[in-house]
Structure formats: C-alpha cells, structure tokens
C-alpha cells in the first residue's frame, strides 16, 4: 500500500470509529437528547417523577378553557393515543391553537394535572398562503361530517 492510501484508510477508519462512538453515546442518552416526552410516555411512567420535564404534542381540539382571571388556561395535550391535562398561567404564544403542536415545561402534581410554567408553540413544516389553507379546509370538510352520518 502506498503511504497516501494508508493515510486515506486511516481517515476512513477514524471517521467510522468516531461516528460509531458518537452514535452509541447518543443512543444511550436518547431520553436526554429529546426535548420533550409524549403523553403516552408519561402514562407509561417513562417521564421523570417529581421533577420538571417537558411535554409535547398537539393541543386537543375543543379542550382549551380559560378561567375567569383571564390568565389561567386549561387544555389537553394529546399524541392522538393518550392525552394529558395541563394548567398554565401566563401569556400564550401567537401560534398556540387547538390542533396545533405545543411543548410545555412543568411538573405532574398530585391532582393528576400537569402544572406548567412555560408554553412554546411548535410549528409544522408546511408553508402555504391563507387561500390555499381555506381550500384545504373546504376539501377536508366532508370527511369530518362523514362519521356523524353513520
């Protein structure tokens, strides 16, 4: 083997080794690297107990209720399998909407609700003008009606 081929082999083996090591570390730290837990994980007791953690999912449609003080909000975070009640007191971000993604940080309390101190809105990867969105809604409307007719 020529010296330059040796060096090339050394670099390729080196990258593979470092890549493998980083892969194993990240796999071992999987739960710490993820920003939030899903409601299903919380029900399966995979989320930390008695400690702050982040919960993420969609705001369940029709679940947002405001208290009379105008600041305290109750809503459900769902991953479409399980949903979790959340209480938050504060100002919600602009993108916070029913059916949209959200990430909240807080603690599970004895009342079975999650009391959160921070709510972040999560945006999806779709970009479209408002007219296109209305068109999509109209197209989707019959599907929403269908189950009721059964």
């Amino acid at each position: 083997m020529k010296p330059r081929q040796k060096r090339a082999l050394f670099i390729i083996v080196g990258i593979a080794a470092v890549g493998l090591a980083v892969g194993l570390v990240l796999n071992a730290l999987k739960d710490n690297v993820s920003l939030y837990f899903t409601p299903t994980q919380v029900y399966n007791k995979e989320a930390p107990q008695n400690r702050n953690f982040r919960i993420g999912g969609l705001v369940e449609a029709g679940s947002v209720k405001r208290e009379k003080d105008g600041l305290t909000v109750h809503f459900m975070i769902t991953d479409l399998k399980r949903s979790l009640p959340v209480v938050y007191k504060g100002i919600l971000p602009d993108l916070f909407k029913e059916g949209k993604g959200v990430v909240a940080q807080g603690k599970m309390e004895a009342d079975g609700q999650m009391h959160v101190s921070e709510v972040l809105a999560k945006h999806d990867e779709n970009y479209m003008p408002p007219e296109a969105k209305d068109a999509l809604k109209r197209a989707a409307a019959p599907q929403v009606v269908a189950p009721v007719a059964k």
Binding site: R4, R7, A8, I11, G14, I15, V18, G19, V22, L26, K30, V33, S34, L35, Y36, F37, T38, G56, L92, P93, D94, L95, K97, K100, V103, E118, V119, L120, A121, K122, H123, D124, E125, N126, Y127, M128, P129, P130, E131, A132, K133
Partner: protein, 245 residues
C-alpha cells in the same frame, strides 16, 4: 488527450483561474440575491399560520444549508490535504472556514429572531439548535487552532484532524429533527417532495443559489490572499503584475 487533473492543484495555476472566476460568481450572486429577495419579500404570499414572520426563511434556510455543506466541503479539502499532501487543498479548507462560521452564525441568529415571536422563546436546548451551535464552535475551533500554530503545514494537519472528526456532527444536525423530539419543525425540503407553496420555493432556491455563489466568490478571494501570503518567497509570486507594483 488525457486531462491533467492535478494541473489546478498547483497554486501557480489556480491563482489566475480563481482570479478569472471570482467576478462571475460575484456578479451572478448579486443578481440572484436581488431577484430572490424581491421574490421573497414582495411576490411571495404570506403564510397561513405565521403571517409575514415566515419570510425569515429566505435567509435562514439558505444559511443553514450552506453552514452544513461548507463544513463538509471544508472537511473534504482538509482530508485531501492530509492524504495527498497538497498545499492548495489545505489552503482551501482555511479559506472556507470563516464563510462557514458566518453562515452558521446567521442561521442561529435569524432562527432566534424567528423563534421569539413564533415559538415564544429565543433559544431552546433542542437537538437541532444545540448541534448547530456545536457546528459554530467547530468552525471557530478550526480557525483558532489553525491560527495558534506558527508553521502553516503543521497548522494544516492539526486543524484538518479537527475538521474531519467534527464532520460527524453534520449528519446529526440534518437528522436531529427525525431522530429526536425537537421544537424545531421537520424538514420542508425532502427527497420525496417539498411541502411549500411554489413562489416561496422559487424565492428560497434563488436565495440558496445566491448564497452558494457568494460563498464561492468569497472563498476564492480569500484563498488567493492565502496563496500570496504562503508562496511569497517563490519566483512566480514575485513576477506577478499586482505584486511588482
């Protein structure tokens, strides 16, 4: 006729070639940038959920893409410098690093500006943002390590190792939104198609091309200075018209 692939690996041949290419890249970049910004900020419609705020993507997305691509190119040049012992490859790696760092910084900065009104936070320690921040530190580390060693050939080798090891981070940035739960949204541009309105896409890809050409023009300008500095004791540099003056 056999093509001599290594002809332009010699600084004496590459220096004038780069000089001829730079104006083309620079002019094209400026034209595309003007077109892209016009398309993005005037022609493209507002987004249904984000309103006007989404327009930051015309700067944010091209810079993020380039921050990752430039790192891979820099690491590839650094590896070529190690393997083939070519001076010019290492000079190219050194020339690309500041532009890569700049694009990484712009990506993080515009992301924070967008994050505050949209997410409700300037910064979140999610996998995408954190790995992009590590990328910035890798660029800065590469630049500082190279600058801290006096002998340029030894500096090339040391910095090359850092660049090569750091290249493991780039796939992590790209796939972070897939592998872990992140606040950052998933990829809009996928191999299977793009979930974005067509005018927005055109504006974004025009800006991407403009940024590519800018990066090439500026990296070549920088590599020409590096060539002059490192080869200043050679006969051909002494005979250059711009040096004689």
């Amino acid at each position: 006729m056999a093509i001599n692939w290594f002809k332009y690996a010699a600084p004496i041949n590459f220096y004038p070639l780069a000089g001829k290419l730079i104006p083309w890249f620079a002019i094209l970049s400026a034209l595309l940038c003007a077109t892209g910004l016009y398309l993005g900020f005037v022609v493209a419609p507002a987004d249904a959920t984000q309103g006007e705020f989404y327009r930051i993507i015309f700067i944010h997305v091209p810079s993020s893409i380039l921050s990752m691509f430039l790192y891979m190119i820099m690491a590839a040049y650094a590896a070529m410098g190690l393997i083939f012992n070519t001076r010019l490859s290492s000079m190219m790696a050194t020339a690309i690093a500041p532009t890569g760092a700049l694009f990484t910084f712009i990506a993080l900065w515009t992301g924070a500006l967008w994050g505050k009104p949209m997410w409700g936070a300037w910064w979140v320690w999610d996998a995408r943002l954190t790995s992009e921040l590590i990328l910035l530190f890798l660029y800065l580390g590469f630049i500082s390590l190279h600058a801290s060693i006096d002998d340029p050939r030894r500096a090339d080798r040391a910095a090359a190792l850092l660049a090569i090891v750091g290249s493991v981070n780039v796939p992590i940035i790209y796939f972070s939104v897939k592998w872990w739960n992140t606040l950052h949204q998933g990829s809009t541009i996928k191999f299977t198609g793009t979930s974005m309105q067509i005018t927005m896409q055109q504006a974004m890809f025009t800006m991407l091309a403009a940024c590519w050409l800018y990066a090439m023009a500026i990296a070549l300008t920088r590599v020409r200075s590096i060539i002059l500095e490192r080869e200043r004791n050679t006969q051909w540099v002494a005979e250059l018209a711009e040096v004689k003056q």
